[in-house]
Amino acid sequence: MILFNAKNIFGPVNLKYKELLLGADTIETAMAYEEYFCLTSLAHARCLAELEMLDMASRDILETQIFWKEQSRRIANDLLLAENPERLLFSDFAKDVPVSTLAEWLDFSYGEEKGYSWIDELRGKPRPWYAEDGYVEVGKGAAKVTSSLFNVASRYTGKVIEKDIDRQQAKVLPSFQKLVARNNVLEGYVEQYRLLEISGTTPM
């Protein structure tokens, strides 16, 4: 009875976070709802499995994984990579995002196993080093201007860039790491529940 009650509590809560995750349009809300959705889904599936409803548990976790993957890719593409994924090639991220990690993240985000070929694709996006107009990067150019008026402007630009980098370090990179890691964990769960169903054994 305890398991039934738990299942009947986790079920609606899980569907609530599912709907909230579907409409989440900021990194903060999306990551919070994603976390609660996964937590309640795993708990719901576990209750089903303990109640010997192994086929239902296996299907439940598979549906969870399919929905989660779809939403996580949306989060990764729209909110984390956003419009300029090539920024991850720049020195700001050299320490925190090795090329192997970046390739893994992009494989997950775009749903294609291209590995290091993603790096070549991203390399094609920034402006050429030997650009005809001489401006390699607007931010760099602004910082080099020495007149007092432009110094003020560059100080402001510097602050904005600093804030954006902080945001990237504090939110974008950890969120990406979390999504890719959770993808592997959920795949493990799907396999585990499938095996439990085949062998007809409960988790405990």
Partner: protein, 84 residues
């Protein structure tokens, strides 16, 4: 004449202060309105989720092999959809 002028100035200042207070009040009311809307939307989502969960469980009730479990789950679901 000077007194009536002074009176006018005092009234104008009084109205300006009142106007400012009303603006602040309007801002607060708008904030509260937004919060009430968010709470309402959350409650609607919650209610929808409860109903969806009950329907989802009822749809798969035939898959429950253990008859005791099946009976218990059906009773629980019925209680939600048709509270006595």
């Amino acid at each position: 004449m000077a007194l009536s002028g002074l009176n006018l100035v005092v009234s104008a200042v009084g109205f300006a202060v009142l106007n400012e207070k009303l603006k602040r009040l309007e801002g607060k009311l708008n904030e509260i309105q937004q919060e009430v809307k968010a709470i309402r939307s959350l409650l609607e989502i919650e209610e929808r989720a409860k109903l969806s969960a009950a329907l989802r469980d009822l749809l798969s009730i035939s898959e429950i092999k253990n008859s005791n479990h099946r009976h218990y789950d059906t009773v629980q679901r019925k209680k939600y959809i048709w509270p006595s």
